[in-house]
């Protein structure tokens, strides 16, 4: 069955990619000379005994391939190591961070996709007109500003109106559930809006060019000749087919969403996984950095896989 083949192929590809990322992670942090773990054993004025016991603790006295197996074994048990910064297990930390990031990021992404769809369709429909120039121009500009800069500009514009950072008001207590939710949403607006604005530009350009492509097709001409309304032509014929390249490109851009939200979380001190990555870099907390990198890579790979499977649904031809 061809359809099954396609799914198997994509899943295998995703698994191999994850494995490559895991291995890359190991090599980057442990094998390269002067890398993170070797540095630990170089404590100033350390006695040979201390160095030796440190090496034993991190398994550095074993041959590299054994270290690698040990590392895989630990990963398989969900053990990502102990943070240098607070001596807590990294996995626990990361779970909380992910839980904080996901709502903010999803809100921003969904808003960006909706806005991008609308303005991309408008721009393509009014090609060469004022609507096209306006929405493509705005999109190109938003696309070109550095993410962190856009975030800081929003901070300037909304100073005093909306909370500037964090996830909740630290001075509020005895809140009801509704009050708590309202507070959270108020804190979420600016970071989510920044995510939405940075993605919106790219999405508009993608949807616009995908729509331009389908609007020139014969079946759209046929649909118009049948006397369908503009709306029906767009929705049932042009946009549906334009979704194919759009989904591919959104999936390919996932890696850059990750880069973007790290910056956004740093600007608004949102206690998510991007902030964790930043702190890990600042404190040179390598186990944390390693774990964040792994978690982010795996999520991108999984979302790519999801997009590939969605693609199968949207366009059954891909399996042929």
């Amino acid at each position: 069955m061809k359809r099954g083949d396609y799914v198997v192929k994509r899943v295998v590809f995703a698994l191999i990619t994850i494995f490559v990322a895991i291995t890359l992670n190991f090599f980057l942090f442990r094998v390269l000379p002067g890398s993170a773990v070797t540095n630990i054993a170089r404590v100033p004025h350390a006695s040979p005994q201390l160095i030796h016991s440190l090496e034993r603790e991190f398994g550095l006295d074993k041959p590299k391939w054994e270290q690698y197996l040990l590392y895989l074994d630990n990963l398989a048990h969900g053990n990502l190591g102990i943070s240098f910064a607070d001596q807590q297990p990294v996995s626990q930390h990361i779970r909380q961070d992910l839980a904080n990031t996901i709502p903010m990021l999803s809100l921003g992404t969904v808003v960006a996709i909706l806005m991008g769809l609308v303005s991309g369709v408008v721009a393509a429909w009014r090609r060469g007109g004022l609507g096209d120039y306006a929405s493509s121009g705005v999109a190109l500009f938003l696309y070109s500003f550095p993410t962190q800069w856009l975030g800081l500009m929003l901070l300037i514009f909304f100073a005093g109106l909306l909370p500037a950072g964090g996830m909740s008001n630290p001075f509020a207590f005895n809140q009801t559930y509704v009050q708590h939710l309202e507070d959270l949403l108020r804190h979420m607006i600016l970071p989510s809006l920044t995510v939405a604005l940075t993605l919106y530009g790219g999405y508009t350009l993608i949807v616009r060019s995908a729509m331009l492509e389908t609007l020139g097709e014969d079946y759209v001409l046929t649909a118009r000749a049948k006397g369908l309304s503009n709306w029906a032509v767009i929705r049932r014929h042009a946009l549906r087919n334009a979704m194919l390249p759009t989904v591919t490109l959104i999936a390919l851009g996932l890696g850059s969403i990750v880069g973007g939200f790290i910056l956004v979380e740093v600007v608004f001190s949102w206690p998510g996984i991007g902030q964790a990555a930043y702190e890990a870099v600042v404190q040179r907390d390598y186990p944390m950095l390693q774990a964040v990198f792994l978690v982010l890579t795996i999520s991108v790979v999984l979302f790519n896989l999801l997009a590939d499977l969605l693609y199968l649904k949207l366009d059954p031809r891909v399996s042929e």
């Binding site: 993170a36 550095p146 851009g253 910056l263 040179r284």
Partner: protein
Amino acid sequence: MSDVLPLQDPGLATEDPGAARASRGGSIWKLLRERPSALLGGSILIIFIVIALLSGWIEPYSTNQQVGPVFGHPSARHWLGLDDSGYDMVSLLIEGTKVSLIVGFAATLVSMVIGGGIGMISGYFGGGTDTFLMRVTDYFLVIPDIPLMMVLAALFGSSLFNIILVIGIILWTGTARVIRSQVKSLRERVYVKRARSLGAGNWRLITRHILPQVAPLLVANTVLTVAVAIFDETALSFLGLGDPSKVTWGSIIEHAFERSAVSAGAWWALVPAGVCVAILTIGCYLLGQAIEDALNPRLKVAHLTTRGFKVRPLVGREKGAS
């Protein structure tokens, strides 16, 4: 990927190098005349390059010395005000232009050498080499750029040289794919086959017959990648991984954030650097797209990926890999 190349272009298909060069030179003028966006993009890029080249002469003040009050307002003496240590913003911006452009072009050079090389080998030799190299490219394409850059920069240290290297070894994937598909179809062209049957070796075929044909595409890719590299440098700087001894547009934004220019109301310490990045990015985008469109009418139907400026064909990306 079933690329159809513009076979009808007589200037590019000719064997006589002189005629080919003349036609290419002519087509640049034609490009600029026919596409105002190319002219605009090119002018933006050239203006920034000139500013960078003249930076030593046109910086009004020193960039490592206090010349006025902290967060001084814009005035006749300091057009864009002063930053958190009383440095002149105009001078910092000019210095930043220089260093940011160096990072952008040098990182792009690294990525062009890797990506161009891999694309060339992959497309030219085909078969198992192609499959293997494209698989590797696919894996790298999926790994998110900025986290990998953070890891590399944190491990190797963040001198300017390392930053350039780190950005360069991450941006090559898109170039590799574009060049590969082009080379793959060039290899089958009649004039290449003819040269081969006349006894030309691989090296000669690649350097004399294929490289000149992909050169314009490489140029377009270079222009687009420069913008991405500068963009990535601002991100790395912002995450505390920039070279602390160098002034870049990224480090200016980072400084404004760290020293809370926002709450001090000193917009002038923040706004111009971001605007510079945006204008340069738009310039590169306009020029790069114009060159690409002019080169290959089929690429007009290709699309832009978010943030990557990678151009890829409409049909799924799997087909090309196997």
